[in-house]
Symmetry: C4
Subunit: 122 residues, 4 copies
């Protein structure tokens, strides 16, 4: 089955500005797109790393078998929210093979800017 159990995203930054809250799709956001292509639900733990403080987490999520979860870092709340306008990075660990892709939408200037990359695994 395609996938790896450990992934890292060295880039992370949620802009605080951007389009209004009336258009959820257009709010500046940062996403870990997680695919579980296998037959078993995946238990996923995310750790968030910062420049000048100890890591936050683990954030725990279940990705059902043969499902994808596009998880916005904006929405992480437990054990704590991810601060805006702050550099961070993340490591995503799973008990099943998964695939992770990192995407950001930045609407600070009214338009849309996008970035995306397959996360790092080894």
């Amino acid at each position: 089955m395609v996938g790896k159990q450990t992934w890292a995203i060295a880039e992370g930054y949620i802009p605080s500005g951007g389009a209004g809250e009336d258009d959820q799709a257009m709010v500046s956001h940062e996403t870990a797109c997680i695919l579980n292509p296998g037959e078993t639900d995946a238990q996923v733990e995310i750790m968030i790393y910062f420049n000048d403080r100890d890591p936050a987490g683990p954030y725990r999520h279940t990705i059902a078998a043969q499902r994808t979860l596009h998880l916005r870092f904006n929405d992480l709340e437990d054990p704590e929210i991810v601060p805006r306008d702050t550099d961070y990075a993340s490591v995503i660990s799973s008990d099943q093979p998964i695939v992770v892709q990192h995407t950001r939408l930045d609407s600070r200037r009214g338009g849309v800017a996008l970035l995306s990359t397959t996360a790092f695994s080894q």
Copy 2:
């Protein structure tokens, strides 16, 4: 020959808005760019994964030897269309080595935003 037989794209999202249908190049779209650098035609199958329903597919395409196909997910119809404004992911399987790169053009705000990444293989 350069290439792998299984690829995954964890990110997928086709915005419904954007530039008019009169300019096909500028319609918001999501593409799997597939290169078959080998001497044998490649039989490719794509499965689409969602957040809350069973996968769709397989979508079957032939990539001729030494040709590239930039396949828009927008254009997939058989066995079913890919819904707009919906998170998805995909796995691309081939009987020959291929190379896959994922690209999106987003024209919702009138301008152009682009993202691209080499898909995941192992």
Copy 3:
């Protein structure tokens, strides 16, 4: 030495429109950024693949030792130019280890859109 000898870029598309020829940096372009980190000059050959015709090339370039060449596909002329508004893909072969990253700047709508990804190697 970091690097590989064979790389592939499945995405390729040079928009014909965009900012005027008076600002070379802002003309829509597609680039293969090639780094030769080693102590020996690298002889590089590029093949271009299309959807509906035989491949073009080889395009031959030398990347000097410990130098980088950001090669615009727009500028390829020998043995033939790369057509605009046309899907293509490329394979880059070198007799020395190199690193390849793919970048596009799209200025069709007056603003700037960017995409980039580390090319595929194995």
Copy 4:
């Protein structure tokens, strides 16, 4: 521990124009996002490669254990600044496993354009 000790970014270009210096987040910039997920501080050396001159560096930085540093190439000063409007590439070497992602923000045209990719390692 996830990570590699040698990374390469073949693309590099810092636009000289863009938003004013009054908004640091919006100044056109190029970043190497470095994550040190391990328990030991990482000593990192960056070499910068050009098209027509010898490499610059090494630039030395310490990434503390379990911390991330989003290092702007704009800010490199010792042993020399990175020239603007100039093609470059980089190799990042570490005595500990790290993860590197490359990001650019381009604000030359008033809006925002973004690119990002996991850097190359082997």
